[in-house]
């Protein structure tokens, strides 16, 4: 399945991109994807807490992702 990952703030800084596209096995969970993203960042996200949003909604618990989902790993927000 194909997943789009939106990148903001430190995540964007780590990858140098606004967006990543990944091909994942069916049934991949949000926490499994977070581990992949942290590994791909090669330490640049190690000290940063990330909340997950799928299709623009925060998730209280992990879920299995579906084809076409838009995922964001959200670093601490800083509005105001």
């Amino acid at each position: 399945m194909k997943i789009k990952i939106k990148c903001f703030s430190q995540v964007k800084y780590a990858f140098g991109k606004d967006e990543l596209k990944m091909e994942l096995e069916a049934g991949t969970s949000t926490s499994e994807l977070e581990k992949m993203i942290r590994a791909k960042a090669k330490g640049k996200l190690d000290d940063i807490s990330l909340r997950v949003a799928v299709n623009q909604k925060y998730l209280p618990n992990e879920i299995e992702l579906k084809d076409g989902d838009e995922v964001a790993f959200i670093p601490p927000v800083q509005g105001g």
């Binding site: 903001f8 703030s9 949003a53 623009q56 964001a72 927000v77 800083q78 509005g79 105001g80």
Partner: protein
């Protein structure tokens, strides 16, 4: 009633309204860009949003604030893009019958905004480089 706007460019403040007869308090908060970030001089902040989700979260937060506190109206404008030092990045107005509920609502709204609304700051340093701001309010 709530009004929420996220937009680029200088913020035009909400117009003064002398027709309100049930609101004894009008709270106005303007967040402005400071000249330093963690001791480093900056020339501006650049605000980045998660387009769509930032506005949805801000609308939900305004609704939650109006349910939690006995206020009448909450209007909020948040600027994104480059905001020079001294300029306004956030403009909030709350009207309430008495001052205390308005003050409490304003404080809670801003604390929650800094926890929930997916907006981030990039610091523009004096040499022109751009780095994610380290300022957060968890």
């Amino acid at each position: 009633m709530i009004k929420i706007e996220i937009s680029e460019g200088p913020i035009p403040f909400f117009l003064n309204d002398d027709s309100r007869q049930q609101d004894g308090a009008e709270l106005i908060f303007n967040g402005r860009v400071r000249a330093t970030e963690h001791g480093d001089s900056i020339t501006a902040l650049e605000y980045e949003q998660y387009e769509g989700m930032a506005e949805a979260e801000l609308i939900q937060l305004a609704k939650d604030t109006c349910q939690k506190f006995p206020i009448h109206d909450l209007f909020c404008k948040h600027r994104i893009g480059k905001v020079d030092v001294g300029e306004t990045s956030l403009h909030v107005v709350i009207w309430s019958k008495h001052r205390q509920e308005g003050i409490d609502a304003m404080s809670w709204f801003i604390i929650e905004l800094k926890k929930r609304v997916p907006i981030w700051k990039w610091a523009i340093l004096e040499d022109g480089s751009r780095i994610p701001s380290e300022c957060s309010h968890d």
